[in-house]
Amino acid sequence: MIKVNTEDYPWHPGMTVRNLLDEKQFTFRHIIVRVNGEFVSEEDYDKWLIQDGDDVLVLHLMAGG
């Protein structure tokens, strides 16, 4: 089990950041991902392996006023 934006989410071996974003349907173009507080850049989404117990924060980049 992992945490995604403070909520429990089932983990599976080999789960990448890209897998998680696809499963959770985060389809916006501007996304910020942090795993255990560490920023994950977009080019690493396919190779960054999420570990069981990780705390993942997924935020939309927004700055409108």
């Binding site: 403070t6 935020l59 980049l61 927004m62 700055a63 409108g64």
Partner: protein, 226 residues
């Protein structure tokens, strides 16, 4: 005073008197700023310094409370000043028609108890956070994109915006594709105003948390980030 009858007892008479002594900087008088100013003027914060270098355009009419077909092409800060004076002449207004930048940020923050970030671009938001850190002023941040809104409170020395904006060279976010909607701006701004009043009155509020509102999914989520 009859004007404040309906504030009581959510805001006590002594708290009302405290608010009258407080000074708030509102940076940006657009979708967020217009509603923040409306709320703070009606609850009667004693002094509002409102800052914006822009004039109203037709594309503002979908959401910006202070805009109307009558004031297109006119400075936003003048509309803000007129609105405050019309709603509550007890509030002292300092209207500054300028864009916030590193060169004027400290001057704009001077003497203010709280700064409300109602800006519409990332570089200026980062400038405000940095200047507020130096000035020792707490910032109430708000941002919107489409149906999404976000609010957080940044104490001096905290760097929450680097979490939200990891690439400072990007000027805008999802709002470029998704626009900004009237109710999203109004809700987010109202929440910013509430957090501002809580700060001014010493009431507990958001701390090390991001409040996210998704009006399409009808979800409010509070994320711990420190």
């Amino acid at each position: 005073m009859e004007r404040y009858l309906r504030n009581h007892d959510a805001i006590s008479e002594s708290e009302q008197a405290i608010l009258a002594t407080k000074r708030v900087l509102v940076v940006g008088c657009g979708g967020l700023g217009g509603m923040v100013i409306e709320c703070l003027a009606r609850i009667s914060v004693g002094y509002l310094r409102v800052v914006d270098g822009d004039v109203f355009e037709e594309s503002n009419l979908n959401r910006q409370l202070l805009s109307s077909t009558m004031n297109l092409g006119r400075p936003k800060v003048l509309a803000a000043q007129q609105r405050i004076m019309a709603v509550n002449p007890l509030v002292e207004v300092d209207a500054v028609q300028a864009d916030l930048a590193a060169e004027n940020a400290m001057e704009l923050l001077a003497g203010c108890d709280v700064a409300v970030d109602c800006l519409d671009n990332i570089p200026a938001r980062l400038v405000l956070q940095q200047a507020a850190k130096v000035a020792g002023v707490t910032v109430v941040h708000g941002a919107v994109a489409g149906w999404l809104g976000r609010i957080c409170v940044i104490q001096p020395g905290e760097d929450l915006l680097s979490l939200l904006y990891p690439n400072p060279e990007e000027a805008q976010g999802e709002e470029r594709q998704r626009g900004t909607l009237s109710f999203t701006a109004a809700l987010t701004a109202s929440w910013q105003a509430a957090e501002t009043v809580k700060l001014l009155l010493g009431k507990p509020g958001l701390q090390g948390e991001i409040l996210e509102v998704d009006l399409l999914q009808a979800i409010v989520r509070k994320l711990k980030i420190s």
